[in-house]
Amino acid sequence: MTEEKIYKVQICTGTLCHVMGGAELPALEDHLPEEIKSKVKVKGMVCANYCTETNLKPPFVLINGELMSEASIDKIIHYIQNCEKNDTFK
């Protein structure tokens, strides 16, 4: 049996990320295209200070540990689809 690829999407639940659009990101689960639906797990994470320690903009999301700033549902889906297409799953 081959090991299943799972994309772990962690959405920052810190107040800044929440206010700057992160509040809507959990809707990701309702928007996932069929072909990747079963491969994506959505979770929350507490503020890991990306908001104060980087010059990047919120909301922040980690996808299998990879940091995404100014995250949006579209951006997350694109990222995962690209990984699938180019077989760059990490």
Binding site: T15, H18, V19, G21, E24, A27
Partner: protein, 475 residues
């Protein structure tokens, strides 16, 4: 796909910047720098150039300081000057929104236009089917004569190449009562004789050109004066953070509110009195009664459907009752209503017991400025929650649900879920008696206050969070 967009996020970023400077007490020196910091040189500009971008931001800040953009007399007035004026001002205004003309892109008048996909085909169904003969062909391409066109859209439906496009004016399209329109320069203006304060134009504008005038300055002044400040929180607040209700309330208290009163507690009184009023009216032979808690709806009746006037419940809204409770319990306190609604800001202006209003977006910005993580708050709080019927006022159908639970079984409800052009026609029919129902609930936002224009979480997500949190506090 989601509800927030860059225009919304710009507004929130401005709010956060403003609240941070107020909190750090560096606003005097720093306020005129906000536009520069947010749009530094060398970065790509959204509009023609970075200077235009900054000018737009300046005026958006002016609105957040509580000013009407139209009232500017000298363009050289700095934000620092406006800050001083804001601090000196003694009264608020009932005109709760303002158009930032610098940001308004004067979208072309809503119209049908022929794109270059037009092949000038032989069939020319666009011209054949136009009832006004407004389509002509110039050099083999269709052209629409806008002086004759009545915007019926037949050409768009008929064109086999989808060559005809409709370009809307988003704010005008969103306004259910034609209260926003262009001046000679194409800039939008709100006609306050028609406006029902629903905030739909604000949510619709892709340039974020329509801004709510914030009370942030007044609220900070109240904090500085060390007065007691009471937060009156609308029931929809429990859908605004994916955190437990005690944590949310504790976060608000930590920010500097001495106590919390749930507006749902006021809703309990509204339910009581509105049910009684309905029964009395039915006994007196009235055919129907409508709700009165949604302020955009009562404004709609006043300004656009006067035939319904006598049929609107006279029971005060939950906010009014909550304000009364607050001033009874804390006679010297400053009261701040916290909710998702532009119309409530207008209503509050006329309610003596409510001093200021804070939107959910502004609340979020204040939490950020105070470095408060809702998640880290204590999960215990000493509060007697309002009953769940009252909490459900936040959702479309909630008022009916509460009244049904109290009234006798002769009550037949009808729910108008959202005010738009169609539901206004429906209400006009109801005014003529064309309904089987005797209790009409009207909510301006589709979905109720959970879909309020200032919400951080909206739509299906808000409903899910609301239900989860509601269950937790009612068990």
């Amino acid at each position: 796909m989601t509800h927030s967009n860059n225009a919304t996020l710009t507004r929130r970023e401005l709010l956060i910047q403003l609240c941070k400077l107020l909190k750090e007490d560096t606003i005097e020196e720093q306020i005129d720098r906000i536009p520069l910091n947010m749009r530094p040189k060398g970065n790509q500009s959204l509009r023609c150039c970075v200077h235009k971008d900054r000018a737009v931001l300046k005026y958006k800040i002016m609105a957040l300081l509580g000013f009407n953009i139209d009232d500017e007399t000298d363009e050289l007035t700095s934000l620092q000057d406006y800050l001083h004026l804001a601090k000196e001002r003694k009264t608020l205004t009932p005109k709760v929104m303002t158009v930032v003309d610098e940001a308004c892109s004067s979208c072309q008048q809503g119209s049908y236009n022929v794109s270059n996909m037009c092949k000038g085909c032989e069939a020319r169904p666009c011209a054949v089917n136009c009832p006004k003969d407004a389509v002509h062909f110039v050099k083999g391409q269709a052209e629409i004569d806008h002086d004759v066109c009545v915007n019926c859209g037949k050409c768009l439906q008929e064109c086999p190449f989808h060559a005809i496009i409709y370009s809307p004016v988003p704010c005008e399209e969103a306004c259910p009562v034609k209260a926003i329109s262009k001046d000679e320069q194409g800039i939008e203006h709100i006609d306050y004789d028609k406006c029902i304060y629903c905030g739909k134009c604000m949510a619709a504008c892709p340039y974020g050109a329509i801004m709510e005038k914030s009370h942030i300055i007044e609220i900070f002044q109240a904090w500085e004066s060390k007065k007691e400040i009471i937060a009156l929180v609308a029931p929809s607040i429990i859908a605004q953070f994916r955190q437990s209700v005690p944590k949310i309330y504790n976060a608000i208290k930590k920010m500097g509110f001495s106590d919390i009163i749930e507006v749902a507690e006021g809703a309990e009184m509204t339910i009581e009195h509105e049910t009684e009023e309905w029964s009395e009216r039915m006994h007196a032979g009235c055919q129907l009664m409508t709700t009165s808690c949604c302020h955009a709806y009562t404004e709609l009746v006043k300004k656009h459907i006067p035939e319904l006037e006598g049929k609107v419940s006279e029971t005060p809204s939950p906010m009014v009752y909550a304000g009364k409770l607050a001033k009874e319990r804390f006679p010297n306190a400053v009261t701040v209503f916290i909710g998702p609604c532009t119309a409530k800001r207008h209503e509050a202006f006329f309610v003596e017991d409510i001093d200021y209003t804070l939107s959910f977006e502004e609340l979020g910005a204040l939490l950020v400025a105070n470095n408060i993580e809702v998640e880290e708050m204590n999960n215990e709080i000493d509060i007697k929650y309002a009953n769940s019927d009252a909490q459900f006022f936040a959702q479309s159908g909630g008022v009916s649900r509460a009244i049904i639970n109290k009234a006798d079984e002769s009550l037949k409800e009808e729910i108008i879920n959202g005010i738009d052009k169609t539901s206004i026609r429906q209400l006009k029919q109801i005014a003529k008696g064309k309904t089987e129902s005797n209790f009409i609930e009207v909510m301006s936002c589709e979905g109720g206050c959970l879909a309020g224009v200032n919400s951080l979480i909206k739509g299906k997500q808000a409903v899910t969070v609301f239900q989860k949190n509601q269950e937790e506090i009612s068990s």
